[in-house]
Amino acid sequence: MPERSAFAPQYASIPHRDHTAELGMWVFIATEVLLFGGLVLAYFVYRHAFPQGFAAGSRHTEIVIGTANTAVLLTSSFLVAWAVEIFSPVTAKIVTWLLIAAACLGLVFIMLKGIEYSREYDEHLVPGIDFQLAGPKANGVQLFFVFYFVATAIHALHMLIGICLLITLAVICRKAPTTRHHTALHSAALYWHFVDVVWIFLFALIYLPGRSSS
């Protein structure tokens, strides 16, 4: 078998390789925008059809948990950004700890979300399983909660994937950090920030409607 070096290389240089990887992540984020975009579109269609039901549904959500989660997620995004910023072989240890801290905050987010879900379950707000709300606004409220559960569940799934990414990177960076790992870290950070941004949109769509008036 011929030596690998007998062939033209895949990349002209290391920055060429790294930028290629990052472009991949950006394109991936573009698909994610459209994925959540479809959901948000559905949200607006129904909110337009049932403004009062949506406002009422929104008032049933746990705004304290939602707000706490926003803070948790923003903090973890900050830690990840920090890790990317200071990444170098010398700082491998700090980077590792920053990533682990960020991943832990991610887990806190998931936990809080779980508490929130269980409270909604107790209040019979889960459509399909035990939704119990009568009255003229029931349809709107139910649709609101359909959106709420589908969107937050998909978001939580993204969080879980992100947490796995961060932990994997934390383990790798501790050992032998190179520019290749920096690129991987940077791409993972892009993903984590994206998940964060999605949450901020969801926060505004889920918790805020109908609150200002009461």
Binding site: M1, P2, R4, A6, F7, A8, P9, Q10, Y11, H16, H19, T20, L23, G24, V27, F28, A30, T31, E32, L34, L35, F36, G37, G38, L39, L41, A42, V45, Y46, A49, F50, G53, P127, G128, I129, F131, N139, G140, Q142, L143, V146, V150, I154
Partner: protein, 535 residues
């Protein structure tokens, strides 16, 4: 250097199923697609046999529903969408840009596994009892009334969608970042422009389909009313979301075909593609405007008249870049020194069939006519002219063109030409009568019909028999050539593209040294000499 090529570097099964070589992955896709094509084709055969008589003598109406659904789902999602991009594209993209592989080789392998997973789940749904919703999964039928395996089939399609997204992503990044020195955008072969545009659609439209199917499954599974009007849901929203993906998806199916035709037409008329930049940007324009016309599938759905008018208008606009391409192919042929090799016959068939399909698309884009033709065989004929007459024909053309590169062998020209002519003939006999049936009012998706329609249906079924034979022929002569054909030279067509400058079949990493591009593509002329090959 050793004379090993990508096929002979290693023979173990493991080396195939864990390969990251884009060429081997292309072959994996190729084998899977042949499999799916035959399953979809078997369903089509059953449908056409049933329709040969006006009564229901072969299957019940329920089985008939499951048959055309299975045909549609398999053909659209497991054959047409992946066909050219994942087989020919996977094989030639790195070769055409002078790279040693796609940007993300492992992701590429993963795409194939995801695709197969989705395919197996869908096959399971079919074996377990089938689906009767039609390939469009329209709600509320799919969520409320259908008693078939809707969720399983949708899950299969959903998963296969990720494979599409990843392939699109890989192509975009590869074409952006890995072009050989000197290969500027305007020196890029037009096939790559079209694959690039296709990839953009894959990346931007497929996620919307994913979320739509997910909502549909949620509704069906939990009984919540997202699309069910009884609980406040909106069935039109499903159609909007679905066609927001599926109209662009028809361009996923046809743009790569158009790209292949550029390569073929210029190679076999020995001329530069006429209006290169126009053709290139038309791909992009089609991809962009294609996102704005989905409502032409909903003219009779109850959407507002204003919406219908806007969508009708936009549909006319999107026809313009398609027409420009047809004009440019004709202009390329004009005064060319035309060689009627098998790939060229397929290309010419494509141009004819695509033109008919596109023009009848304009009929359908006219509001008044569409109201008359909706859900009749006219629509069926229209999209088969585009998807089968266009796309599948282009696929066969491309396959014959790159076959010597892929296998290192030459096939029998005689049989290849015979098959091409038979396909053209069989296709027209199958689908042209359907325009007439549709115009006279025969609805689609019915298996019992008034006896006066029988003449045209018999013609159509007879054509389908010819078509079936013609589609089977390549299996034999190409299959034979793969093992016993004459050895192909590196550049059998004397074409200038980079892919022809490495040996046939190419070595594992494509090029011994980094190729450098110094001229525009399609420089065919009498003095053209292929650059020295590194064999």
């Amino acid at each position: 250097m050793s004379d090993k090529n990508y096929l002979t570097t290693d023979y173990t099964l493991r080396s195939w199923f864990l390969t990251t070589d884009h060429k081997r992955i292309a072959i994996l896709y190729f084998a899977s697609l042949i499999f799916f094509f035959f399953i979809g084709g078997a369903a089509a055969t059953a449908i056409r046999i049933e329709l040969a008589t006006p009564q229901a003598d072969l299957v019940s109406s329920d089985v008939y529903n499951r048959l055309f659904t299975m045909h549609g789902i398999i053909m659209v999602w497991f054959f047409l969408i992946p066909s050219i991009p994942n087989t020919l594209g996977n094989f030639v993209v790195p070769l055409m840009i002078g790279a040693r592989d796609l940007a993300f080789p492992r992701l590429n392998l993963m795409s194939w596994y995801i695709f197969m997973l989705g395919g197996c789940i869908t096959l399971f749904a079919i074996l377990a009892g089938g689906v009767d919703t039609g390939w469009t999964f329209y709600t509320p039928f799919s969520t409320l009334y259908s008693n078939s395996y809707v969720i399983v089939a949708a899950a299969g399609v959903f998963i296969a969608g990720f494979s599409s997204i990843l392939t699109g992503l890989n192509f975009i990044v590869t074409i952006h970042r890995l072009r050989a020195p000197g290969l500027t955008w305007y020196r890029l072969p037009l096939f790559l422009w079209s694959l690039y545009a296709t990839s953009v659609i894959l990346v931007l439209a497929t996620p919307v389909l994913a979320i739509t199917l997910l909502l549909m499954a949620t509704e069906r599974f939990f009984g919540v009313g997202i699309f069910d009007p009884r609980i406040g849901g909106d069935p039109l929203l499903f159609q909007h979301l679905f066609w927001f993906y599926s109209h662009p998806a028809v361009y996923i199916m046809i743009l790569p075909g158009m790209g292949v035709i550029n390569e073929l037409v210029s190679c076999f008329s020995r001329k530069e593609v006429f209006g290169y930049k126009f053709v290139a940007w038309c791909s992009v324009a089609i991809a962009a405007v294609g996102f704005l016309v989905w409502g032409h599938h909903m003219f009779v759905s109850g959407q507002s008249l204003v919406a219908s008018l806007v969508f009708s208008f936009m549909s006319f606009i999107v026809a313009v870049p398609s027409a420009i391409k047809v004009f440019n192919w004709t202009a390329t042929l004009h005064k060319g020194s035309i060689h009627f090799d098998a790939p060229m016959l397929y290309a010419l068939a494509f141009i004819g069939l695509f033109t008919i399909g596109g023009l009848t698309g304009l009929f359908l884009a006219c509001l008044a006519f569409d109201v008359h033709a909706t859900d009749t065989y006219f629509v069926v004929a229209h999209f088969h002219y585009i998807m089968v007459g266009g796309m599948v024909t282009a696929y066969f053309g491309g396959l014959h063109y790159w076959w010597p590169k892929i296998t290192g062998r030459l096939y029998s020209e005689y049989w290849a030409r015979t098959a091409a002519v038979l396909i053209f003939f069989g296709f027209n006999l199958t689908f042209f009568p359907q325009f007439i049936l549709g115009a006279e009012g025969m609805p689609r998706r019915y298996h019992v019909y008034p006896p006066e329609f029988q003449v045209w249906n018999v013609l159509s079924s007879g054509g389908a028999a010819i078509l079936a034979v013609a589609y089977l022929m390549p299996l034999f002569y190409l299959g034979y050539s793969a093992f016993h054909g004459r050895r192909a030279p590196a550049n059998p067509w004397n074409a200038p593209g980079l892919e022809w400058q490495t040996s046939s079949p190419p070595p594992e990493f494509n090029f011994a040294s980094q190729p450098v591009v110094t001229r525009a593509p399609y420089q065919y002329n009498e003095h053209f000499q292929a650059e020295p090959q590194n064999a």
